[in-house]
């Protein structure tokens, strides 16, 4: 697969994108609110283990979203809000995964950790549901078959021109 074919090639900032705003205007360009692992965990753990959030979290876990992906999403949001740095995000990720795994275990909900590469593939049930919704909106002509078109001569004879062209042909 070439570099252009991969989706990740387009999932990156454009060169010079960071210069399109005043330096320091973005939340992640100013000092983080919680610079240490402990402070960041003090922020996240009460929120994640609250009754209101845990209910929604369990719904998402039941759908088969890997816990590592969830933790990454949560901490990435924190970085974008200027709550903590990327380093702290990487460090608190395992702790958040452990907490979410504990919450899921206590609720008897099966979860995916995301520790195998195959888990990045979306669940078949979710894909089937999405396809069902799409089929409702659009109609596909599955019976229509492409008829083979007769080959036409695309190359037409162009008269030779220029200084080096033969005189008899021009």
């Amino acid at each position: 697969m070439s570099f252009r074919d991969s989706e990740e090639a387009f999932d990156a900032p454009i060169a010079g994108m960071s210069l399109t705003h005043e330096l320091g205007a973005r939340p992640w360009q100013s000092p983080p609110q919680y610079p240490t692992v402990e402070e960041a965990l003090d922020f996240y753990i009460p929120r994640l283990s609250s009754q209101q959030f845990a209910g929604r979290l369990l719904d998402i876990i039941e759908q088969g979203i890997p816990l590592t992906a969830l933790a990454e999403t949560i901490t990435l949001g924190g970085v974008m809000q200027g709550l903590h740095s990327i380093d702290v995000a990487v460090l608190i990720n395992p702790v958040l995964v452990e907490l979410m795994a504990g919450i899921a275990d206590n609720a008897d909900v099966k979860y995916k950790l995301g520790d195998t590469d195959g888990e990045g593939i979306p669940d078949k049930g979710i894909v089937a549901k999405a396809m069902k919704e799409v089929r409702g909106k659009f109609t596909f002509d599955e019976d229509r078959k492409e008829e083979p078109q007769p080959e036409t001569e695309s190359e037409t004879e162009t008269p030779a021109r220029g200084l080096m062209a033969r005189r008899g042909e021009a």
């Binding site: 283990s49 990487v90 990720n93 907490l99 504990g102």
Partner: protein, 75 residues
């Protein structure tokens, strides 16, 4: 999986692996050496004993795992 997100995933997998291995081993109570003839630690050795970031994260994970096993009605 994006290469940007990979370090966090790898950290999670590796640290959980360490904790899982610890869970399988029987618990050994640590007894510090005491008495007049106990070896004294030099300042350099004490510096080595200080936890680095990874060890601190591992201890938090350990505490959370313990707490979640004990208190089933945390949430």
């Amino acid at each position: 999986m994006s290469y940007v997100k990979e370090p966090a995933r790898l950290a999670t997998i590796n640290l959980r692996g360490i904790l899982d291995a610890e869970d399988k081993q029987p618990a050994m109570p640590e007894k510090p050496m005491s008495g007049l003839l106990a070896p004294r630690k030099s300042p350099m050795m004490e510096m080595d004993d200080q936890q680095n970031e990874t060890q601190r994260v591992l201890s938090y994970m350990r505490e959370i795992r313990k707490a979640m096993k004990v208190n089933k009605d945390v949430v």
